[in-house]
């Protein structure tokens, strides 16, 4: 039986909008599967423009951050763009504390992210 996807993926105007199914991105196996699915999305695109929507995410580990860094690098290697959207207080704090808010493009809302990823 096929494994259930860890992501919900919507395509609109050449932009890939990704939502997480899991609310807690902590487990190594879960993180590895999300990383594989995101890498597969990136590999299919010539110039990937991807929004990761964190509206469902309540907890995030350092391993998850590592996976996101790897995905961001892969997108950058193809001259694409990754934008993170809808990070609530605690999740935003994880990025601020680790100073990864300087390494990622982060928008408050999905609408802002759509505008940013088009630039």
């Amino acid at each position: 039986m096929a494994e259930t996807s860890m992501l919900q993926i919507f395509e609109q105007d050449g932009i890939t909008n990704v939502e997480f199914v899991e609310t807690n991105i902590l487990d190594e196996i879960c993180i590895s599967r999300i990383g594989d699915e995101l890498s597969s999305v990136v590999e299919r695109k010539a110039c990937p423009k991807v929004i990761l929507n964190f509206k469902n995410v309540h907890a995030l580990s350092s391993s998850a951050l590592g996976m996101l860094i790897t995905v961001n690098t892969k997108i950058g290697d193809k001259n694409g763009k990754l934008v993170l959207a809808s990070l609530d207080g605690p999740i935003r704090d994880v990025f601020r504390i680790t100073k990864l808010d300087k390494a990622f493009s982060i928008c408050d809302t999905l609408a802002d992210a759509m505008g940013s990823v088009r630039k």
Binding site: S61, M67, I69, D88, I97, T98
Partner: protein
């Protein structure tokens, strides 16, 4: 630092490095915190730090071996949460880990676990060998259970 007179009895469990074991012990601590009216900010902080400590025990302490045993001790009072995580590994020197917040290291995919623990807990102590982590979070007295996470 908590004085000796304030030290409550600690609960202790020995677990393996599997997700189910992590969830069970984490939920035990979080349940006690909820009973003691800790706010969402405290619950989130302890959950993240606890996860990082257990992940470090498996990945660095036991080189990914999920069958090796991890001792976990905890106590939750109305004022603070104290957690200890002890692995069977040879330990490590945190000084050897590059500062993950330095500009030149921001794209490194690993090495943020201890930094996150230090950010989310009020006291963090790693023994000289590097296999015994003790961490304490004081209750945020300005927020009650159900309150929103304060903005950064």
């Amino acid at each position: 630092m908590c004085s000796k007179a304030e030290q409550p009895d600690k609960q202790r469990v020995t677990i393996c490095g599997l997700r189910e074991s992590f969830d069970e012990v984490q939920e035990s601590v979080l349940d006690l915190m909820r009973q003691n009216q800790y706010c969402d900010h405290d619950l989130f902080s302890v959950r993240v730090a606890f996860e990082e400590a257990l992940a470090n025990a498996v990945l660095h302490g036991h080189q990914g071996d999920t069958t090796s045993e991890i001792d976990v001790l905890w106590s939750v009072t109305s004022e603070f949460v104290e957690i200890e995580v002890i692995d069977q590994g040879r330990g490590y020197d945190p000084q050897t880990i590059p500062d993950p917040t330095a500009n030149e290291n921001l794209t490194l995919p690993s090495g943020r676990g201890l930094a996150m623990i230090r950010a989310f807990m009020n006291e963090v102590h790693l023994n000289e060998r590097g296999n015994h982590l003790r961490m304490v979070r004081h209750k945020d007295q300005n927020h009650t259970q159900g309150a929103e996470f304060p903005s950064a």
